[in-house]
């Protein structure tokens, strides 16, 4: 991963009838973990999708290594940015290895089939998230946490520099949360940049180098988690008055 493999968003704006994102600017360096927090509807998912090149911004730009993500070919984008969506798919009968392999589809030649290289990549990805033993299992039979890991493997299989994760810890039990956090920490140690939207503030404190707080499409605050995650700010961000100096979600 080269030093300029950073993701830079400038003045990104997006909305339908109402604006969902207003002039968001941020920068993610290689190996950094940036957390996106905010109330539901603040624009976290939209921002992640725009960062991943899945949605074109209405104004502003997102550059990866100096190039517009929207102008990257599917193959280039897969190799650069991994995306873990919020919801697990109803994977109608596919096996784990088939799901992970789909992460490589855009890298296969037009009429080509997967070969040894691809299988090795699948195996590597599954090992990185410590679920290689699930290789032949049917995806639909896995637990929520296992499925999440497999999808993470899929996001990783093309060896991207940056991972975009949309609420990866949602609905996982505490055991899985800890395991998943450990996995992400290991990835971060390997130099993968992580952009994680989450509601779990403890995760943010544990792993994030920087946190961006979104409120109704705008950046409310950003910076070092310890400094940013103060009760008044959290109350403002989440529209409540329950955050106190002692309690944390």
């Amino acid at each position: 991963m080269s030093a300029d493999a950073s993701l830079v968003a400038s003045e990104v704006t997006f909305g339908y009838d109402q604006p969902l994102l207003r002039e968001i600017s941020l920068r993610i360096e290689p190996g950094q973990c940036v957390a996106l927090i905010g109330a539901n509807g603040a624009g976290k998912t939209t921002l992640l999708r725009i960062l991943g090149g899945l949605l074109p911004p209405q104004s502003g730009s997102v550059l990866f290594a100096g190039r517009e993500v929207g102008s990257l070919s599917p193959a280039e984008r897969t190799a650069a940015l991994g995306y873990l969506p919020q919801r697990s798919p109803r994977a109608a009968g596919f096996a784990v290895h088939e799901i992970v392999l789909m992460g490589l589809y855009s890298l296969l030649p037009a009429r080509g089939w997967e070969g040894r290289t691809e299988w090795l990549a699948v195996g590597r990805a599954l090992r990185r998230v410590r679920v290689e033993h699930l290789l032949r299992r049917s995806f639909a039979t896995l637990s929520g946490g296992e499925q999440r890991r497999v999808l993470l493997a899929r996001a990783l299989v093309a060896g991207p520099a940056i991972l975009l994760l949309d609420e990866p810890l949602a609905a996982l039990d505490p055991g899985f949360v800890l395991e998943f956090t450990a996995t992400l920490a290991a990835l971060k140690a390997q130099g993968v940049a992580l952009v994680v939207s989450t509601h779990r503030l403890s995760f943010v404190e544990a792993l994030a180098d920087a946190v961006i707080v979104l409120q109704r499409g705008r950046v409310l605050d950003h910076g070092d988690p310890e400094a940013v995650l103060q009760p008044e700010l959290l109350n403002d961000a989440y529209g409540t008055d329950q955050f106190t100096a002692g309690g944390r979600a």
């Binding site: 999708r49 991943g52 899945l54 599917p74 984008r77 897969t78 995306y83 969506p85 919020q86 919801r87 798919p89 109803r90 994977a91 109608a92 009968g93 596919f94 096996a95 290895h97 088939e98 799901i99 789909m102 992460g103 589809y105 855009s106 296969l108 009429r111 089939w113 997967e114 040894r116 299988w119 699948v122 195996g123 290689e132 290789l135 032949r136 639909a140």
Partner: protein, 339 residues
């Protein structure tokens, strides 16, 4: 760690399996029929149909039917697999979006208002095809107006059209006289008879490019069947892929229904049968459906012609008789409901 059986190898297996079924059916099909003919006599003078009744039966009454069955069966099964992927519904069939309703309406209008039309050979099929395509367009427009192309919207639009056009069909049937109504009812049963080699050639030319285009969509359908978000996450324009796929599948269905009437069960069942044997990867299911559907319908046609010969059973009855129990088996099979 060694890779499991690769998709490529599974596809090869499925192609060989279904291809063999098809080849066998194509071979046996023209050899049996409502009567017994002397095959030696057929080949002694194969082109003198007027003077050689055995050859006439073989080349005029049997072979075109067998070929038509293969064409229609393959197209319907491939279309069905496409619908099941894009609508993300295992119960989707080529008729879910109202294609048959549109084809029926146009056919019945022709039967009612142009009973003795001179352009006969292409009038009814032409009308049916026009109706089928018009309905598909209508579904697309309806869906785009009301909410884009996620499957639920499309399904709703299709169901709506099915009911509405179905009502119109009933109305036309009601106001037609007895003979016209009888003809309409017979059309609905489906019929593989009546194909000339010229029509078969037209059908083949009209279907082959669409087959090729759809067969290439294996990866896309894999991704689409996981969900719109999933597909988009992998760089697929889900809306465009859906529209394109549905149009192609509707074209195949329209062409099939135009010539053979609405033959049921093939489109919904054959893809499931292929999945049972070859797995859910669409790169395997699509070619399997094309070949397997063709073989299946040829077998059904043979049974329809031979079971109580010389009386013929409507093809729809055969597909239902073979297909129904299989579908029951699928339903009862552990895990199907979960997929």
């Amino acid at each position: 760690m060694s890779p499991p059986v690769t998709a490529r190898r599974r596809r090869a297996r499925i192609v060989v399996l279904s291809g063999t079924l098809l080849a066998g059916a194509l071979l046996v099909g023209p050899l049996v029929g409502a009567t017994d003919i002397d095959l030696g006599a057929v080949w002694s003078d194969p082109f003198d149909w007027a003077g050689n009744p055995a050859a006439a039966i073989f080349f005029m009454a049997r072979l075109p039917r067998v070929l038509l069955a293969a064409l229609v069966g393959g197209s319907l099964a491939l279309a069905g697999a496409t619908y099941q992927s894009l609508l993300r519904n295992p119960l989707a069939s080529p008729y879910t979006l109202g294609v048959t309703a549109g084809a029926s309406l146009m056919t019945f209008l022709v039967i009612r208002f142009l009973p003795g039309s001179g352009l006969a050979e292409f009038t009814v099929p032409g009308a049916a095809l026009a109706g089928a395509l018009a309905t598909t367009m209508l579904v697309m427009v309806l869906a785009t107006r009301t909410g884009g192309t996620p499957p639920t919207v499309l399904l709703l639009a299709g169901v709506t059209l099915n009911f509405t056009i179905g009502a119109a069909v009933l109305l036309v049937q009601y106001f037609a006289d007895y003979t016209a109504t009888a003809r309409m009812v017979r059309w609905m049963m489906g019929d593989l008879e009546g194909a000339t080699y010229r029509l078969l050639a037209v059908l083949f030319v009209a279907s082959l490019p669409v087959w090729v285009l759809l067969l290439r969509c294996g990866r896309t359908f894999n991704l689409m069947s996981l969900g719109l978000e999933e597909a988009q996450a992998h760089g697929i324009d889900a809306g465009r892929a859906t529209r394109r796929g549905l149009l192609l599948a509707s074209w195949l269905t329209g062409v099939a229904v135009a010539v053979a009437g609405p033959v049921g069960f093939v489109g919904i069942l054959v893809p499931h049968a292929v999945r049972l044997v070859g797995g859910v990867d669409y790169r395997v299911v699509l070619p399997g459906a094309l070949l397997g559907g063709a073989g299946f319908l040829v077998v059904c046609d043979v049974l329809a012609r031979v079971a109580i010969r010389p009386v013929e059973l409507p093809i729809g009855v055969l597909t239902a008789c073979l297909g129904g129990p299989f579908f029951l088996f699928l339903l009862l099979r552990r895990g199907f409901a979960r997929d």
